[in-house]
Symmetry: C2
């Protein structure tokens, strides 16, 4: 197919990639999956996992494929949404490359298997990652992804995507506290999340803590929006 | 610059466009700016305004340029945000074209001047546009833009972008009622928006209605998030 049919002068062919901001809560910290680049440009630098969208492949499918290649996790098992597209003319030294960034949020995921483009992949605390020099404009993309996650905890039920099921209200509060970097009042939080419509579904089971009362166990409910919102 | 440097087999060069969902409230209805396509593909069909991102041009700049070309409106005078990127392999019969959709919200804008790609441009009520066959996947993009606008009225101050300044609380309520397609209780609405932090700034002036009390006039405040939210 001749791609030049509709393109006027001053419009050259380009490339499109997907990049993934994959976040989880591990060891009491919000962490992002980063790879060490195995080839030029930025060889040896830390970067977000990602790659070229293939011929005949949709964007969501490309994001899911890269997710699987980097983490061996099926996209169906976590929250995956488009974040934003970045297309500054100078963002890639190879030429004009637009990248469609995705945000993936999931429970403490197994350590990733290094893929073809990843010499090494690792979880990195987000605050440290944001202070290091990531390849391309990946620092800005990571910052946007973290801010999107923080904002969505206010008015959506997405925090539960970080929790392996079943989970307690204290498990869920731990996610909010880690992602927001702030302590929350336990009884206020308990009241808000258990009254929010279709956020949490009781399993009927309880977890026995080392001390104190048994804690009710929940799984994720069908609601996507959180009403009323829980504000930072 | 040789673009093939980083591209593996199975990844061909592509094109990137921007498309604009431009919404306003006119004559008591939510309306979108549509153009009648002047060339193939989909010649003669209604479509969202948009065009190719030029060499050396950023995405936001391309969106602002297309907005100006289609409406003669400066992007600085309305709310413009990235909506989502669409890249289904079959969405454009010319070949692989990814489009970065933008959402523009503004006060009742002057009728657009037909640009080079627009044989004719017009405001079209959104409910009628969504029932007609738009070119490409523009029906889906328009539906996503309208839903984004409706959702953002709940938890952001963006409704004020539809109001020419200065405006009354009744003007603002009219926007909410038209965009949501639902009547709101006037005194409840008045209480909520005037108590929301930094949403509305009183000008000190009043508008004299044909009958009834003078109505206080406001301009847009600095807040972007609406706290507490106003729910549909």
């Amino acid at each position: 197919m001749n791609m030049s049919d509709g393109r006027p002068a001053g419009v050259s062919p380009v490339s499109v990639t997907v990049d993934l901001v994959i976040l989880t809560v591990r060891a009491g910290r919000l962490q992002a999956l980063l790879i060490q680049r195995g080839k030029i440009p930025f060889k040896g630098d830390l970067a977000l996992p990602g790659g070229y969208v293939r011929d005949g492949e949709g964007l969501d499918a490309a994001a899911a494929r890269e997710l699987f290649e980097e983490t061996t996790i099926d996209a169906a098992h976590l929250h995956l949404e488009q974040l934003r597209t970045y297309g500054d003319p100078d963002r890639d030294p190879r030429g004009r490359v637009f990248t469609v960034a995705y945000l993936a949020l999931g429970p403490n995921l197994p350590l990733p298997v290094a893929g073809t483009d990843a010499a090494e992949a690792r979880w990195c605390p987000v605050d440290e990652a944001l202070e290091s020099d990531l390849a391309f404009d990946h620092g800005r993309i990571l910052a946007d992804g973290v801010e999107r996650a923080r904002a969505k905890l206010e008015y959506t039920t997405v925090a539960a995507a970080f929790c392996p099921e079943p989970f307690t209200v204290a498990d869920l509060r731990h996610i909010y506290e880690v992602v927001w970097g702030a302590k929350l009042d336990p009884s206020n939080f308990h009241r808000k999340v258990t009254r929010a419509q279709d956020f949490l579904v009781p399993t009927g089971d309880h977890r026995l803590p080392d001390l104190g009362r048994p804690a009710a166990l929940y799984r994720r409910g069908p609601a996507t929006t959180l009403t009323p919102a829980i504000l930072r």
